[in-house]
Structure formats: structure tokens, C-alpha cells
Amino acid sequence: MAMRRSTALLFFRRMRIPLIVLISAYSIATIGFTLMPGVDDDGNPWRMSVFDAFYVVSYTGSTIGFGEVPYEFTKAQRLWTMVSIYLTVIAWLFSIGSIISLMQDPAFAQAMRGARFRRAVRNYDQPFYLLCGFGDTGRLLATTLSELRHPVVVIDDTPAKIEALSVETFRAPVHGFCMDATLPENLLMAGLQNRWCMGVLAATADDRVNLKIAVTARLLNQRSAVYARADEASVADNMRSFDTAHVVNPAEEFVHRLRLLLTRPHFYRLYQWLRSSPDGDIPDVPQPPKGRWVLCGFGRFGQAVYRMLRELEVEVTVIEENAAIEGLPEGTIAGRGTQAETLKAAGIEDAVGILATTRDDVDNLSILITARELNEDLFCAAVANRWSSGPLFHAAMPHFVGQPGELIAGTIISHIRSPLLSHLFRRLEEVDDEVAAELLERIAPNPDQAQQPEFFTVRLSKKRAPALHWLQKNGFDIEVSLFQRHPTRPGVQVPVEVLMLSRGDDDRLLPDGATRLESGDRLLVACPPALAGRMRGLVESEAAAYQALTGRELHRSWLLNKLIPGAPAPGGQDS
């Protein structure tokens, strides 16, 4: 309560003395005028009334100056006019100066911004996300979430980043405020306990900060999902231990995608596509070469890549400048990969691929260019540390590039769009790559101009899918093919795909159209964005679901008559 009123309080406290000075100056000047002896036009002694005096002071004090009214002033009145001019003008200057200095006071400006921010957050009436950290990752997350029409509340402790945020345009409201995200009270101020807070995204560059945010969010709002970035594996494990919805480790994610690229080309295409920003393209079918790789840089990314390649029994030669790193494999070439000699020493001429994973983007680019000059058939993969170097990497055309911000944002966004996608990917790991190819073919028959589908997680329960529940209750059989049926033209299939059916612990990929659905089933449905409204209607509106199932319109009164004596006849459906 005291926090909320602080701006008004601060204003009045600071304005108290200027206002009192102003009132005193005016009253002294007014009284003085009524006491000064004057004469009227006929020369009779005359004195101003309080009203006349206040009138004169009012126009004198504001420097308007109508002249001497109602009668010409006597010397005594003129003397007092001079006194009151200086008195009131100085009082005005003093109070206006106080107001201006108060407005410019950083503490006051901060309090004003805080009040505006709190008001904005309090007035949300639709699901929003709370984003902590506005670096590369944060910016991508905010942009994508606003594209998905979710308002975002951004907090970051760097004023410059929040200022940059305020001049960008977003499609949904994005409110930024500069404060320390590690303090629980700040997260609360940013709407952590607001009933519309759907999720908290901890995307700062500091693992400790992300961990603190994740813990705070978990404890103070059980209902909102927590998505966090963790660079250290130990921090990631720590976060997973307290039920964080999704933890992304950029190095792990990079290696995971690289592994898919090397082992499961179609799954890689699907994964890379669905886990990048919604306007991303489907990558071409990768054709990774077999043979020896050269890995430049043995930092966090390099080490993870090295472990993965060794697991795949791929031969790797490491180039690393810093010989003090623990766990450097034998045969490591000391030096920088940017120099041709070093690359030659690592045998670049008869290697099949080069991996540039140093912490410096210019080095990585230089490595790619130099290596390609020595051996133009190389398969090139690189880490783009900063999002701003994206265009350079794009121009250098490596076969695979991972940008930590994009990796994190893409993964978190795909999780937000449908939590079942993670199940889908986990299940795809266990089956042949052909399934991934078929799945990709179904949702993107034309990979060159494919648009990312809209994902729906349909849960067959009374609360989440009332229409389907109602149909089931009335004895209708619901099959997977229901979702593909055209509402008015029987026999016509709409391009809606049921990608996965989860029943208990069993995740069935691409279930057969004739599969009967049971209560409690969860379905991952992909449909073109244009059909999203229809899909929603099918799940929520009894009339729409009934029509899709039977091909007949639902006449409420007729049906009610039929319903009350007995259940509607499931046998009566049109084919």
C-alpha cells in the first residue's frame, strides 16, 4: 500500500513548501493592497476591497499586467505594487522551479515509471508472459511472443536495454522496466502472482540469476510455467529437480541438433524447423560426410561437441589456443584455427568437416573462410555467439550454424506453443527416421514454402474439450479422423493432422484415422493457421462437433426432445 502511493506522497511532500510560499506571497500582497490609501477619479479617499486587491495581485503575479484599475494608483499603491510584483514573481519562480526539478529528479522519474508499469501490469486481462533478461535471447523471445499475440512484461537491470525496448514496435503490448530480477518483490511487482501470468521466462546471461528467478517463480506462483536458460549442466539439473517446465542449455541444444543432423536427417529437418522462430524455413536434407572432423575451440560448446562426436565414434582433431583447459584430448593442436598453418597441422586437407566453436564470432568466421580455402569440400558448422553476427554467418553459408539466443528462444517458444511437442520429439528419437520424414511430409507437403502449423493440444476431458466430452457422453464414438472431416462437405478431408496420441504413458505417433478416442487422451494436432478457429470450435462448440461427426446440423430443441427419452442414436450418422 505504501509502495503504491509513493509517487503522490513524494510529489506532495516536495511541493509543500513551494505551495505554502506561493499562498503566503499572494495573501501578503492582497492584504497590502487593501491597506494602501488611494483616491478615486473625483479625488475622494478610497481603498481597495479584498476582491479588488486579489484581482490586481492575480494579474500582476502572473506578469499579465492590465495596468492600474479601477482608478489610477497613488504613490503608496505603486510602492506596494512594486513590492508585490517582486514577491509574487519570486514565489512563482521558486515553485515552478521546484516542480521542474522534481520532474527531473531521477528518483521521482523512476517512481513515476514504476507506477505506470504497475498500472499496466495490473490492467492485463489476457494471458501474458514475464520475461527476465533482455539480451539476444530475451529480444527474440519478446518478439516471437508478441507475434503470437501474447503481451510480455520484460525486466532487466540494464537501463540501456529497457530504453532500447521502449522504441521498438511489437504486435502485442510489451512493457519493460529496469529492475533487479533476483529480488522477489520486483517479480511480484512485474505481475508474477497476476492470475493471467502464464509463464516466467528466465533468460538472463547469468546462471545464478536464472536459478533464483526459477526458484522464486516456482514458490510464489505454482500455476505459471517456468522456462529457464542454464549454461552450466549442474544448474540445469538443479532447475529440473524442482519441476521447471523447460530448461534449455544452449550448448546441449546445439549438440543435440548437430547429432540429429549427423544421424537422423529428416528428424533434424523437422526439429530444426519447429524449434526455430515461427517464420523459419525447413532446412534442406543434410548430407553430412563420413570421416575425420576438425574442431576449433574447446570451450563449453567445443567440449560438448567433442563428447558427442566421440560417442558417434567420429574421429576428431581439436585445435585449442589455451593449453591449460582440463580434459584436452591427446593430439590437440595448440594455436588458433584462424591461421592456415594451424589448420594444416590439424590435417584440414583430408578432413571432411570443420566446427568453429570459439567464443569469438570473428574468429569463427575466419576459421570457416580459411578452412574452406584450404579444402573447399568441407562440411562447415559454427557457433554464432552473438545474434548481431547473424548476417555475417548467413553470408558465410556454413551448413549448420547455432546461435545460443535462437536456440534458447526457439526451444522455449516451441514448448510454449505446445508442451506435447517435447513428447513428440522424445518419441521420434525412439523410432526410425522414416516416421519423421512422413510426419514432415504430412504437415509440410511443400517444404519450400511451408508455413509453421498451429499446434493444438486437445485433452479429452469435460473442462478442456467440452464438445467432444458431450458427444462421448451421448454415446457417440469419436475417432481420430473426426478432426480431418470437413464440417459441411462429407468425404472431403481438411489438412489437419493428428501427430500424436498420448494415452497414459503411451505416445502413439501418427495414429490411424480409425483409432477410437478415450476420455483422458491427449492429442497433438497440427493445422494450418487459417483453420485454427475451426479447430477451436470443434473442441468447444457442441454444434460444430456434432456437425463434423454426423454431417447434420444440431437442432437444439429437436435434439433435446430426442435426448430426454433416450440417448441420441449414434447409428444414425451420415457416412
Binding site: R16, I23, V50, F51
Partner: protein, 127 residues
């Protein structure tokens, strides 16, 4: 002794006494009610209001409210005075004087409440 408390109490009390001074006398006799006293009561009332702005305690909310009532009453009285004497030029007839004084009587009550509240708060504080 807290100097700011003294000043605060001074203004609240002065607003009451000036108001009382103006109110005292026959209700419709202009000779008993001085225009300067009304003016002073209004000015001191305004200053007291500003002093109360920005105070935090629960009691101060009530103090501020009563102060605003005082200002409203006295402003109304002043407006009646100005209208009848300078604009409509009917002069201070007994009817006009009576309405001015009765308005200031309302302000007097609110001022009294202010002083009572302030005394209560001070008494509660010292306990």
C-alpha cells in the same frame, strides 16, 4: 520537541481560532464580521491543507479530509461575499451576511474536528 510538529499544530489551531473569530457575533450583522478575518481564515486553512498533504498515517487522511471541508466552506463563503458585494452589488444585507456566517460556521465544525484529531493523535503518540 519537534519543530515541524509545532508549525503543523500552529497552523491547524490558527485556522480554528481565526474561523471562530469570524463566526463570533450576530449572524446577520456585517459590523460583527470582518472581511480580513475571513480572508485570513481561508489562507491559513489552505496552508494547513498543504501541510497535511503527503502525510502517511491513518489519522492524517481524516485530517486532510476535514481540512478540505474547511477550504470548501470558506471558499463558498468568500464567493457569496464577492458575488453579493462586487458582482450583483446588493451589498451585505442581513440575508447575505447570515449565509456567509453560516457557511463559516460549517467550516468551524470541520476545523474543530481537525484540532480534536490532532490532539488525539498527539496523545496516542506520547502514550
Amino acid at each position: 520537541m519537534n519543530m515541524s510538529k509545532v508549525i503543523f499544530g500552529f497552523f491547524v489551531l490558527l485556522a480554528l481560532t481565526l474561523n471562530f473569530g469570524f463566526f463570533l457575533g450576530e449572524i446577520d450583522n456585517p459590523a460583527h464580521h470582518n472581511v480580513y478575518e475571513l480572508f485570513a481564515a481561508l489562507i491559513v486553512g489552505l496552508i494547513a491543507t498543504i501541510m497535511k498533504l503527503g502525510e502517511r498515517s491513518q489519522m492524517s487522511a481524516m485530517l486532510l479530509a476535514s481540512s478540505l471541508v474547511v477550504d470548501l466552506h470558506l471558499l463558498a463563503a468568500v464567493i457569496v461575499w464577492v458575488l453579493s458585494v462586487h458582482v450583483l452589488e446588493v451589498g451585505l444585507t442581513p440575508a447575505v451576511m447570515a449565509s456567509i456566517v453560516s457557511l463559516s460556521g460549517g467550516a468551524l465544525l470541520a476545523n474543530l474536528l481537525s484540532v480534536v484529531l490532532l490532539t488525539m493523535e498527539t496523545a496516542g503518540f506520547s502514550r
